[in-house]
């Protein structure tokens, strides 16, 4: 038999009827809203491992003496009068832009009230620009904005967003909600928008693993380099500092916005910063020994750092994941939101309290927190 005939017959033998038409939509729509959610099969296994690791870690931490044991998560915090802005995903349809549903979760009874159409028009206007990655509620103007809450100015009058007019460059816009008007403050090759301190907007720019830190003044438009590109990344803005780190590092970089100095906050193990509280202290995920691997860590201890080498363990990681966990400072409370409609609130008095919304069917699919209580 010649090769041509052989190959023809092999091809025919391999031929198969196509997948059913809805298969693609089914696969895509089954993906978790939060990319950091582990698969259910792995979760069961990870839970056992995480529990063992947690026990070992707590014992180790107490032995080291550098970390105080966790305050207990007894729920005495009052959230009954809280209507929490949340958004989730509407049922997916192939070929259509992702559609979100916004509204308010009444924590007293778990009911969900959908936001008015008028308040959500800006979401439709800008959703999908690179790096947006979230929707937030601006209580000053009662509007929903297609940006993370840290991109909304503290006074709620202005918010920042990114666009890519020429694909290879990025524009940093600010939009004044009063007029409304839109202007480009920065035009650069690559921008990671971090957030506001007062009327100054902080962003990182760079490529690969080398990122520098800049800030731009809203009033004057003056752009200033604060830290030259180096092998680190800047991640988050708190009320008084910008936080960064290297990937999988045991040290955070803290840029003090008042003094312009960079200091380092260390832990005894690798960590990821996931948020900053209203008091300026960072929440970090302390990774287990042996991390990282090629994917994302699935175990760890959630900690609140109060100084370099000083941290309080406030909970095990479980579903809290680095980067994609939404962390929103709300006065003396800090809200955490992760995939699977899992929400927590932390305060120094109560510790970390789990607000179980996993089976709340009134919420839109995969609902996550979009702002502090209203």
């Amino acid at each position: 038999m010649n090769d041509e005939l052989l190959i023809r017959r092999v091809k025919a033998a391999l031929d198969v009827a196509p997948a059913e038409p809805a298969f693609r939509a089914r696969v895509i729509s089954s993906l978790p809203l939060d990319r950091r959610q582990p698969s259910p099969q792995r979760l069961a296994w990870a839970g056992v491992v995480a529990a063992a690791l947690l026990l070992a870690m707590v014992a180790g931490l107490m032995y080291l003496g550098s970390v105080r044991p966790s305050p207990r998560s007894q729920s005495t915090i009052s959230v009954a009068d809280c209507k929490l802005p949340v958004y989730g995903q509407a049922p997916y349809q192939a070929g259509q832009q992702t559609i979100y549903v916004e509204g308010f979760l009444d924590l007293s009874d778990g009911s969900f009230t959908r936001a008015s159409a008028a308040s959500t028009t800006q979401v439709d206007h800008l959703l999908g620009f690179p790096g947006s990655g979230g929707i937030s509620y601006d209580r000053t103007f009662d509007v929903w904005l297609p940006v993370p809450s840290s991109w909304i100015a503290p006074d709620g009058m202005t918010y920042a967003y990114l666009s890519s007019p020429q694909n290879s460059t990025t524009d940093l816009h600010v939009r004044d909600l009063r007029t409304p008007s839109d202007r480009v403050l920065v035009h650069s090759k690559a921008i990671r928008l971090l957030g506001w301190v007062g009327r100054r907007l902080y962003y990182a720019s760079g490529e690969g693993y080398n990122w520098g830190l800049w800030s731009v003044d809203l009033s004057t438009g003056q752009d200033r380099q604060l830290d030259s590109p180096s092998p680190k990344e800047w991640w988050l803005v708190g009320p008084d500092a910008v936080w960064g780190s290297r990937w999988y590092s045991s040290s955070l970089s803290r840029y003090d916005v008042a003094t312009g100095t960079i200091t380092f906050w260390n832990l005894d193990r690798m960590m990821d910063i996931i948020g900053v509280g209203s008091d300026g202290h960072p929440f970090v995920l302390r990774l287990p020994e042996g991390a990282p691997d090629s994917s994302m860590p699935t175990e760890g201890v959630l900690m609140l750092m109060t100084a370099s080498n000083q941290a309080v363990a406030i909970g095990s990681k479980d579903e809290l994941m680095p980067l994609r966990t939404i962390v929103i400072a709300d006065g003396d409370r800090t809200w955490f939101s992760s995939s699977g409609q899992r929400m927590w609130v932390y305060s120094p008095d109560t510790g970390l309290v789990f607000l179980d919304q996993t089976s709340n069917t009134s919420l839109p699919n995969g609902a996550v927190i979009a702002g502090g209580c209203v």
């Binding site: 038999m1 090769d3 052989l6 190959i7 023809r8 017959r9 092999v10 091809k11 025919a12 033998a13 391999l14 031929d15 198969v16 009827a17 196509p18 997948a19 298969f23 693609r24 696969v27 895509i28 729509s29 089954s30 993906l31 978790p32 809203l33 939060d34 990319r35 950091r36 959610q37 698969s39 995903q89 997916y92 192939a94 259509q96 832009q97 992702t98 999908g128 620009f129 690179p130 790096g131 947006s132 990655g133 979230g134 890519s164 694909n167 290879s168 090629s294 994917s295 994302m296 994609r324």
Partner: protein
Amino acid sequence: MLEDDAIFMERARAGDRGAFDILVGPMIEPGYRLAFGMLHDREAAEDAVQEATFRAWMRLDNVRPGWSVRPWFLGIVANQCRSTRRARWWSVVKLADPWRTINSPEDQVVRGADLRCALRRLPTDRLEALVLHYYLDLTLEEAASVAGVPVGTIKSRIYRALEQLRPDLEEISEVFG
């Protein structure tokens, strides 16, 4: 990576499933065909693609410059299929396998003598090389990228697979003409 792809990648990394669908969605059908070619079972193929898509979604942060969606995604599917084949239940043959029914001479031969049984007997790496190159029409370079081996290895696997299949096909030809 194309510039448009880079934008969609950025959006997908930010959690936009619509952007991910634009990037990876067109690869789901080829992924399914690859999985079916390697696993010979619809449910197993669908499971493999589902799991591979989930892994791709979770690993967007690991994508490096020079990334190309087709070999990247099909590589994840192929890896999932290898794991499935290693793990399985392999002798189970479902009656409802959705082989395409074509009245071509080739298909009559295949249906008459079940060349697919011969394909199933191939080692995983050889079957994978055949599926990638002859069924998905990937170039040798792309097939090598998906399989994670040098081009020479892919050529060798294809050659050995065809040589292994040749006696079965000649026997079929003798029986059915």
